[in-house]
Amino acid sequence: MERILFGDNQFFGINHASEEKARAQAMRFRNAEAMIEVLDSAHEAGIKVFMCTTHAKVAEITDHVRAHPSRYSDFSFYPCMPYAHKYANAMAEHGPLDALKEMLPPTGAMAALMKGGMSLASMNVEGLAQLLIDAEMKMFRGLNTPVIFLQNVVTDLLLGIGFYEAFNIFARHVKSRYGAEPGFITMNLPALLDALEQAGIENPIVCATVNKAGFRMPGGLAAYESALKNRQFRPVAMSVLASGAIQPKEAIEYVCKLPKVESIVFGASSRQNIVETKRLIDELSA
C-alpha cells in the first residue's frame, strides 16, 4: 500500500466539527471540476491514491481519470463501499427488500433472475453480496483498484450482529473478481481484529481511527495502542487530526511513531494544506 492516501470526506459535506464548515464544503464541491482540481493538487504533491466512497459524484471523477489515461497512469483508487446514506435513505423510503432491489442494476443478471420468477427471498447472502459489490464497482471499470474497502457502517454492523462469515464473502469476491486486496474500515479496531481472526482472515488490511486524542476510538486509546503493538494486521490510520482537536504536527508525529501503521489517509481542500500535511508525514516517517 502507498504511505499516503487522499480521502474524500471534504468533498461530500462531511465535517465532524461543524455543520457550517460541512455546508461550505458541500457548496464548494458541488461539481466534479472543483473536486478534480483538489485531487490534481494532491497528485502533483506526489499522492498517488484516492481512497473514496462510491458516492454517485465519484463516477464523474473516474470518468475524468479514464479520459486522461497518460496523466493519471500512476494513479490508483481504493474504493470504499457502499456509500451508506444511499442505502439508508432507500431503506426508509422503500423498506429493506425493495431498497435492495433499488440498489441492484436494472439490467443484467439480477433483472434476469427477477424476470425468471426468482425472488430475493430465495437468493443466498453470498450471491446477493456479489451483485451489490459489482454494482458499486461499476464506476471504477478499467481503473486501478488494488485495495477495496468495506465501509465502517457495514463492517461494524456485521461485527455487532456477529455475522463474521460476511467478511469472508467480501474478501473472496474482491480477490477473485477484481484481483484486489480486501480492506475493512472500522470504528471498533480491537473488536474487529478478534472477529477477522475468528473468520480466518490473516494479516488483514484494516483502516481505523487512530489519533492522539482518543477521539472515536471505542475501547480506549490504550486498547488501540496495544492492538497496534501486538496484533498481526496492516493498519491504515484515519481521523489522525481528530477533526482538528490536535495540532497537525503533534497529530502526525504521534501516528508516525506508532508501530506497523502502513498508510495514513487524510483529506484537505486547499493545496497548501495538502502539501503541508504530505510534507509532515514524509518528514516524520523518515
Partner: protein, 366 residues
C-alpha cells in the same frame, strides 16, 4: 448470564439496535422477531439469534428480562402493553405512542411496576445537547424568553414511497417521525410547551402526510418558541436538528457538532461574549461505535437504568409529553385548516364581482 434481551422489528433502527445491544458486555441478545420471513431466514442462517415471527412466543420461550421495540410506530403501544404485562424492561423507538393518552397510561403502569421504560430520543445523549440543557437549567443564560427548534433533512424527496412513513394512521408524516426529535430536544433543554398556535402542517411531495410543519410554541412562563421542520430538504446530507435559546443573559445555539454560547454578563466560569464548544470535547467514551456515539450511549444508559445505576433520561413519561405536543400540533393544524377553509368560503361569498362593484360605484356617485 447477562440481561436476557429480545428485539422486535428489524428495520433500519432495529438492525442498528441489534448490533449495539449484542456488543454490550452485560447483555445477552437471545431472540429477534419480525414479520419478514426473508430477513429472519438470513439472520437464522448467519447469526446466533433465535428468530421469531410472534413477539409473545419470543418473550415466553426466551424468558426475557427486556425487549427493544423498533417496529413501525403504530405497533408501539400494543407491544409495550404486552411487554409490561410480562414485566419486561422496555426500550422503545420514537415516537412513543400515536395516542398520547395511551402513552401516559403505559408510562404510569411501567413506573408502578418499577420497570425501566426508555424511548429512543438519542439527542438526549449527544454531548452538545446535554451541555445546552445544563446551561439553560442552571440559569446561565438567565430567564428564557424564546426558543427556536429546527429539523431539516432529505427523507421524502418525491411523491413515491410505499412504506408506513407515508401514512398518517401508521405514524407517518414529518411531525411524528422528524419533528418529534426537535420537540423532544426543546422539552429536554428547556420545557414542554403548554400550548401551540398557528400550526401549518402540509405536504410538499407526500400524498397522505405532511412533509413540513411550522408552529408557535407557548409557555405559561411567558416564553415563546418557534418550530420549523421539513423532511423534504435535499440540501441536507442527513437529519440536522438545531435549537437556539434566547435568555435575559445571553443565547445558546446547539446542533450535533457545536455549542455556540453568547454570555452578556460573566457567569459560572463563562466570561462575557462568545464561547464555542465542540462535540469532540463533549463526548464521553463508549465501548462500541455504530453511526454515532449517542446510539451506544443511550443503550448503555438503558442497561445502567435496568441495573439500578441511573435514572432514566429519556423515559416513557418524557416521551409521552413529546407525543402530547405532537397531538397538540396535529389538532392545531387541523383547526387552523378548518378556519382557513371557512374564511376562504366567506371571502368568496362576500367578495363583490367586478360588475357589482362598478355598479355600486356608479350608483353611489348619484
Amino acid at each position: 448470564m447477562g440481561i436476557r434481551l429480545g428485539l422486535v422489528g428489524l428495520g433500519k433502527m432495529g438492525v442498528s439496535h441489534l448490533a449495539i445491544a449484542n456488543s454490550h458486555p452485560d447483555v445477552d441478545v437471545l431472540g429477534v422477531c419480525d414479520s419478514n420471513p426473508v430477513l429472519l431466514s438470513a439472520l437464522r442462517k448467519n447469526t446466533k439469534f433465535h428468530c421469531y415471527q410472534n413477539p409473545v412466543e419470543m418473550i415466553e420461550t426466551e424468558k426475557l428480562d427486556a425487549v427493544i421495540v423498533s417496529t413501525p410506530s403504530r405497533f408501539h403501544a400494543d407491544l409495550v402493553r404486552t411487554a409490561i404485562d410480562h414485566n419486561l424492561h422496555i426500550f422503545c423507538e420514537k415516537p412513543f405512542c400515536l395516542d398520547p393518552q395511551q402513552g401516559k397510561l403505559l408510562a404510569a403502569e411501567a413506573r408502578q411496576r418499577a420497570l425501566v421504560g426508555q424511548v429512543g430520543y438519542h439527542l438526549r445523549f449527544v454531548g452538545t445537547f446535554l451541555k445546552a440543557r445544563q446551561l439553560v437549567q442552571s440559569g446561565c443564560i438567565g430567564r428564557i424568553h424564546h426558543i427556536r427548534a429546527e429539523a431539516y433533512g432529505p427523507v421524502v424527496l418525491r411523491s413515491r414511497g410505499t412504506t408506513w412513513r407515508g401514512h398518517r394512521s401508521e405514524g407517518g408524516g414529518c411531525l411524528y417521525d422528524y419533528a418529534s426529535h426537535a420537540i423532544d430536544a426543546v422539552n429536554f433543554i428547556y420545557d414542554a410547551p403548554d400550548a401551540v398556535s398557528g400550526t401549518i402542517a402540509r405536504s410538499v411531495f407526500s400524498r397522505d402526510v405532511e412533509d413540513e410543519a411550522y408552529a408557535t410554541l407557548i409557555y405559561d412562563s411567558g416564553a415563546t418558541g418557534q418550530l420549523a421542520v421539513n423532511w423534504s430538504d435535499e440540501s441536507q446530507r442527513k437529519m440536522s436538528v438545531k435549537v437556539t435559546v434566547w435568555g435575559s443573559n445571553g443565547k445558546i445555539s446547539v446542533d450535533r457538532q457545536e455549542l455556540q454560547i453568547y454570555i452578556r454578563q460573566a457567569v459560572d466560569g463563562y466570561r462575557e461574549g462568545w464561547h464555542l464548544e465542540n462535540i469532540t470535547q463533549l463526548t464521553e467514551p463508549i465501548s462500541y461505535y455504530l453511526r454515532g456515539e449517542e446510539y451506544t450511549a443511550q443503550f448503555d444508559h438503558f442497561v445502567r437504568c435496568m441495573e439500578g445505576r441511573d435514572e432514566c433520561r429519556s423515559s416513557f413519561d418524557t416521551a409521552a409529553q413529546t407525543d402530547n405536543v405532537i397531538q397538540m400540533l396535529h389538532d392545531d393544524a387541523e383547526a387552523g385548516g378548518r378556519i382557513r377553509q371557512r374564511q376562504e368560503a366567506e371571502h368568496v361569498n362576500v367578495r363583490p364581482t367586478f360588475f357589482e362593484s362598478l355598479k355600486s360605484r356608479v350608483t353611489s356617485r348619484g
